[in-house]
Structure formats: structure tokens, C-alpha cells
């Protein structure tokens, strides 16, 4: 149950999997994403309502074949340049996209968590999202005849989320803004949770979401594992890092250098003088 992050990723995430690293601004499992890059995992279908810098990095590193999402941006800053480059420039590989609205994605996870093949909502109608994916269809209410929208369940192979803490049995506790993480975990075949710490007893906290250990496949202790996003009660959001990402990610070479030094821990490739400061 409690495993080092590299082992957790190795055992749970396979080439070609559909993987959801969820988090809504808060509690984003960034370190787990970095580990996926480090292990060179390929052909992933990445799922997330709000792909941000960690998906930008994974896409830029060539881990993804497809992205299923509803809003892709660098929150508070602007665009995701690696995402844009993959979509518009096919670099480093073409990226297939399937896009939805937030309401649609949230309900797809709910259906997945509920063991239903689809969900019903008032949404999408009249938008051009409808024509771009077979995964939005009309459905009639069998009682009123009213026409509504159906979206299919999302059931990823693996959900990866970050939380404040877990106990030794693998029960996981998170609080603050908890987004759609419970549904993502319940909808997935396997779940990897990175946590700030392991404690003997999970003292109840107002607003908590508790994931019972039986729906958690593995827990890895990764203090700071959500940086540059934040962990409520542990550390705040590093807004400068989001801003800095804009410049790093604009340029393919600068991004490649960042990958080399920051993710793979290799010495800088371009600057002879900096080569001694290996990470």
C-alpha cells in the first residue's frame, strides 16, 4: 500500500493507459507527473478537467497520445505553450484532443464513479463542441419528452491525486478545495495517491473528503508533491513558478533544457560554465 513514488508509478501506470491526474488548482499531483516523464511512459490518454503546467510538461515530454479535457491553460497566466505546440505544430508528437465543458467532464466522472455508462445534463446544446466528438449525444426524458444531453462515463485505468495525508492502512484524507478527485478515484480501475505525510490517526477535519483504503491502490509519501500548486494547511501556491513556466515553455529548446536538468537531473547541455552545477 505504502510505496515509494517511483515504484507506485511503475506498478500502476503502463504505456497506452488512460490516466487522470486530477486536481482543481489545489492539490495537483505534479511530482507524480514528473515521475511519469522520468520513467518515459508513452502513448497515454491524459484526462483532466483543467490541464495545466504538469500536463504541459508531460505533453512536451512526449508522454501523451491524446488529451481529454475541458479547459487547458496556465491559471492566472495564460496559455499552455507545449499543449499549443503539440496541437498546432505536432511537436514532439501529434496530440489528439477531445474536449468537453466542465459540467460535461464532471458528470462523466460521476457516471464513471457510479457504475453507469452515461450521465445526463443540461449542457452543450447549440455549441460546436457537439460536432467535434461522438461523446456528446441528445437524450429524451422518458417522462416529459424533454431533450437533454448525454455524455459517456469516464473510467480511466489510473487516477492519480494528491492529498494532505493518509494513515498506515492507506485511508486518504484531503480538504480545502477537493474538486472532482473523489469521483476520479472511484471511476478508475487503479488509484495512486501522493500525500504530504502519513499519520497514525486521521483526525477529522471540516470539509474533508475521505477515500477509504479499499479504493486506493497505492499511497506514496511525497512532501511538496503538489508544488507549484498548493496543499491547504501545508504550503501556498507558488505563483511565480506558474509565471516562470510561461517563458520556459514558449521555446522548445529551453523546455528541453528544463526537462534535462529539472526532471532528469542531468547537467545543463548548453552552458559549459553551468555544467558543474548538476541537479
Amino acid at each position: 500500500m505504502l510505496v515509494p513514488l517511483d515504484e507506485g508509478v511503475r506498478e500502476l501506470v503502463r504505456d497506452g493507459d488512460t490516466v487522470a491526474l486530477e486536481g482543481f488548482t489545489h492539490l495537483i499531483p505534479v511530482e507524480a507527473g514528473h515521475e511519469i516523464i522520468r520513467q518515459g511512459i508513452r502513448d497515454l490518454t491524459l484526462v483532466r478537467m483543467t490541464p495545466d503546467v504538469v500536463y504541459d510538461r508531460m505533453i512536451g515530454a512526449g508522454c501523451a497520445r491524446k488529451l481529454v479535457f475541458s479547459w487547458g491553460g496556465n491559471p492566472g497566466v495564460g496559455s499552455l505553450h507545449r499543449f499549443r505546440d503539440a496541437v498546432a505544430g505536432g511537436w514532439p508528437a501529434p496530440l489528439e484532443i477531445e474536449e468537453h465543458s466542465h459540467a460535461g467532464m464532471a458528470n462523466r466522472y460521476v457516471a464513471g464513479a457510479s457504475g453507469l455508462p452515461f450521465a445526463v445534463l443540461r449542457g452543450y446544446t447549440g455549441t460546436d463542441l457537439v460536432g467535434r466528438t461522438p461523446n456528446v449525444k441528445a437524450i429524451s426524458c422518458p417522462f416529459t419528452g424533454e431533450e437533454l444531453t448525454a455524455v459517456p462515463a469516464l473510467n480511466p485505468d489510473v487516477a492519480i491525486v494528491h492529498a494532505q495525508r493518509a494513515d498506515r492502512a492507506g485511508n486518504v484524507q484531503m480538504w480545502g478545495i477537493t474538486g472532482v478527485q473523489k469521483e476520479a478515484v472511484l471511476a478508475s480501475s487503479r488509484a495512486l495517491v501522493t500525500v504530504e505525510e502519513v499519520v497514525d490517526e486521521l483526525e477529522p477535519v471540516p470539509g474533508q473528503v475521505l477515500l477509504p483504503s479499499r479504493v486506493v491502490t497505492a499511497v506514496s509519501v511525497v512532501p511538496g508533491g503538489a508544488r507549484p500548486s498548493y496543499t491547504h494547511g501545508y504550503y501556498v501556491r507558488d505563483n511565480d513558478a506558474y509565471q516562470a513556466w510561461d517563458a520556459i515553455s514558449r521555446d522548445r529548446e529551453r523546455f528541453a533544457e528544463w526537462l534535462r536538468t529539472e526532471i532528469h537531473g542531468l547537467p545543463p547541455a548548453r552552458e559549459g560554465s553551468a555544467a558543474k552545477e548538476s541537479a
Partner: protein
């Protein structure tokens, strides 16, 4: 007091836009707030004429009362100051979808003469000129809020004859379209820009210039619009920000770190 407008301190066009947007929010109403200009306007309203404004951010914070402008829809202070924090499915299913929200604030990369909005892509979908963030909460905000207020800087690039992609439906292709589509909210009732205010004509649903900001001419607005913009027979001049509004706005934005550049539309 009659010369208040004349005495109003000089302000930027963005400040003019933000103050005008804030005035669109009724005290006691519920507002679905996106990051950027909408959030600034809503927080300004709450600190001026609408202390009872109930702000919902799509991250699940209901009734947040942040002391500084949040940098993202999921800032910790939103959770700490909210009446309650609910899951994201609950925000959309229990709060937005049933029509409990009075006003939805939306941004736009493109908007057409019927208030339809594009935040997805400029150019061809398969080979985009600019790939934008996408839909987020916007399609259902546009469908299900009782009314929608759009905040967007006015230019021919943004105000187009026809949007490249309909991310969020405004008034479709004219009268009766929302009803035909089963959209239950009133749709965009105001588009507030840095030049003036546009409202749908009650008969044609076409966006019509109903107010110009002080110092702006109708000609300037028409030149910043990609279609032959109709002008209301009853054209007004937008009341300038009063000193209190400006002071509060500047205090709010002054407390906000520089990473927040206010250009992120619905988040």
C-alpha cells in the same frame, strides 16, 4: 453632485469597464465568477453597492469573501472564506444547472452580433491559428444562469461577424433560438467593453450599442466592431466611476500580485 461625472478622477478604459461591470451586479444576487475581469468586478461590487453579493467560483467555493483578488478559481483564501466548499460536480449540478445563479460573468476571445462566444480556437479547429484554453464552465454558465454579462475589450479581432467556434451560445442566430435549444436562462443581457455597453435589441436580439463610455465616440466603437453595429436611439453615456469606486478598485488591484494579469476570461 450634478457635476460628479465632470469631477470624476481620470481613469483607464479597463477601470471604466470593470466599474461598469461591477454595477451590473445586484446586491443580494448570486454570481458565478470567473478569474480575471469578472472576479475583479464582482469583488468590487461586493465592496461598494452590493455587500450581499453571493459569489460562486467553479472550484466549489460558495459565498467566498476573499480579502484580495484570487489568482485562480481555486485559491486557498476562497475556500477559507466561503460559506461552504462543495465538490465540482455539485457546483455544476446542484447550483448552476437548476438556475439558482442570477448572473454569470463570461469573457470571450471572439463574440458575434448575437452574443455567441468563442473561447476555443481562432482559425480552423483541425489546424488552429491560435489554440485557446477551451470551454471550461462557460457553455453551461451561458445556458443556465438567469442572465449573462460578458466582459471583453472591444476590437475588430474580438467583435466578429461570425465566431470561428461557438463555445457558448448567446442568442444563436436571433429571436427564438434560445427557446428552441431549450436554454433556460436569458442569455447575454449586456456586453461591457472598454468603449461602451452593448445590449441585445429586444426584437432582433442583435447586440446594439446602448451606452458609450465618457470620452468615447460612437464612431470609435463602430470602428472597433467587425459588423455594422446598430446604435440605440436612446444612446446614453456611461456614468463615470465615482471616486469611491475607483479608490476601492485600485486598492483591490494594488493588493494583487503581479502574476495576475487579468486577461484569463472565464478562469
Amino acid at each position: 453632485m450634478t457635476s460628479a461625472a465632470a469631477e470624476a478622477p481620470a481613469c483607464t478604459s479597463d477601470e471604466m469597464m470593470t466599474v461598469t461591470a461591477s454595477r451590473a451586479l445586484r446586491d443580494g444576487s448570486a454570481c458565478f465568477v470567473g478569474i480575471g475581469l469578472p472576479s475583479t468586478a464582482a469583488n468590487l461590487a461586493r465592496r461598494t453597492h452590493a455587500p450581499g453579493l453571493w459569489m460562486i467560483y467553479e472550484s466549489g467555493t460558495l459565498g467566498a469573501t476573499p480579502s484580495v483578488l484570487p489568482l485562480s478559481i481555486g485559491d486557498g483564501e476562497l475556500a477559507e472564506t466561503a460559506d461552504t466548499v462543495v465538490s465540482v460536480p455539485e457546483v455544476f449540478n446542484y447550483w448552476l444547472q437548476p438556475g439558482r445563479i442570477d448572473t454569470g460573468f463570461l469573457g470571450a476571445a471572439q463574440i458575434d452580433r448575437y452574443g455567441n462566444i468563442n473561447t476555443t480556437v481562432i482559425g480552423d479547429y483541425g489546424a488552429p491559428k491560435v489554440r485557446l484554453p477551451g470551454a471550461g464552465g462557460a457553455p453551461e454558465i451561458a445556458a443556465n444562469c438567469r442572465e449573462v454579462v460578458v466582459i471583453v475589450r472591444q476590437s475588430r479581432r474580438a467583435f466578429v461577424e461570425s465566431v470561428d467556434f461557438t463555445t457558448s451560445v448567446g442568442h444563436g442566430s436571433g429571436p427564438g433560438d434560445r427557446e428552441r435549444l431549450g436554454l433556460r436562462g436569458a442569455g447575454p443581457t449586456r456586453v461591457i467593453t472598454d468603449l461602451g455597453v452593448l445590449e441585445p435589441d429586444p426584437r432582433t436580439r442583435e447586440l446594439t450599442l446602448t451606452s458609450v463610455h465618457p470620452g468615447t465616440t460612437v464612431q470609435q466603437v463602430r470602428e472597433a466592431t467587425g459588423w455594422d453595429l446598430a446604435v440605440s436611439a436612446d444612446l446614453r453615456t456611461t456614468p463615470a466611476p465615482d471616486p469611491h469606486e475607483l479608490a476601492v478598485l485600485r486598492s483591490l488591484t494594488g493588493r494583487t500580485p503581479p502574476t495576475h494579469d487579468g486577461r484569463q476570461g472565464t478562469r
